[in-house]
Symmetry: C2
Subunit: 175 residues, 2 copies
DNA sequence: GGGCGCATGTAATGAGTTACATGATTGA
DNA sequence: TCAATCATGTAACTCATTACATGCGCCC
């Protein structure tokens, strides 16, 4: 649903062909979404069938035909509705690593600590990627800012957990 | 992957039959995962085929047969590996609403604000659900604490955005 | 005796991914 | 001439969900 919104929102601002669209998302929003090539083409096809977008064939030089997509009135309406639906809704974020947390007490505290520090390193690497993301016009930049804020909070949380682990470890002889 | 870990981790502590397992997850971890009945049965079947778990038939009264599952040595090893893999890995969380954020400037600021406040209300309701979650033994409770912390941060973020929107709105005449 | 709870599933569907297919052009 | 890029897709697969199917026991 939000993927369709993304495509519609971009096409609404500027008509594009599929390849261009995918490249644009990859370069500009790659840190916030991961829309794979076949998924994008599939969604474009689906939205064409739903009558939300149309395309004109277009050729530059002797290159393969391009399908340049733009919104239909129905697509515009779908965009308006999807946008509101997405903004109204809160979707709890899944944290796969939390299931690991639940069983953390089954591990030797030293090893648990090593593992969590490895996870933290991954977070920090991702943090650097986020900070090198290109600037965006308008509120699009808020998306990246959200990611950055979130990641900072996650790192703080992990540090807290690691700290607790040390405390637990120090007391483990008494249990 | 983390769903398999969850099932293995629970069965490792105490052998159970499917229905019991599903009920347990629903009641105790319902706020952190949403493992549906058919998915659970499917995973139990799959892990049986992989040789990670076995079951014994068991009947209480004239009730339907129960399959009481427990880990095999291979399952124990899988558990150990999955646990470490999950703890080592950082998986960026997807935020569907962020795609809405990117197009927020396409809306009338007053409406944008209403929508975000609706989202906030959803968050606050979820927050209350989390606070009524039952206490958990060991580190399992950290999972819920993480959710609570995360949600608090998300609410703070949304408030910031709403505040910015007001500012933008006040200045919009100049743009 | 009628509905809810126990206990197990199957079937159909959908969303998304990976890997593969095609064929032309441009640059080293 | 050989690889990368442009531009489009298809096929097979995984994972999870919804809806449906079954049948007994227990309680009102």
């Amino acid at each position: 649903m939000e993927r369709e919104l993304l495509l519609l929102g971009i096409l609404r601002r500027q008509q594009m062909h599929g390849y261009q669209l995918i490249e644009f998302i990859d370069q500009n929003l790659g840190t916030c979404t991961d829309l794979k090539k076949p998924t994008a083409y599939f969604l474009l096809e689906k939205m064409t069938q739903k009558g939300w977008i149309t395309f004109e064939q277009n050729q530059s030089g002797n290159r393969p035909l391009r399908r340049v997509y733009r919104l239909t009135p129905a697509g515009e309406q779908a965009y308006q509705e999807l946008l509101r639906a997405v903004l109204r809704t809160y979707t709890p974020a899944p944290f796969p690593a939390d299931i690991g947390l639940a069983f953390l007490d089954q591990l030797d505290p030293a090893e648990a600590r090593e593992l969590l520090e490895a996870q933290m390193k991954n977070m920090q690497e991702y943090q650097e990627v986020l900070h090198t993301a290109p600037a965006h016009p308008g509120t699009a930049h808020w998306m990246i800012e959200h990611q950055i804020t979130h990641l900072k909070n996650e790192i703080a949380w992990l540090q807290k957990i690691i700290h607790r682990l040390e405390y637990t470890s120090a007391n483990s002889a008494e249990d």
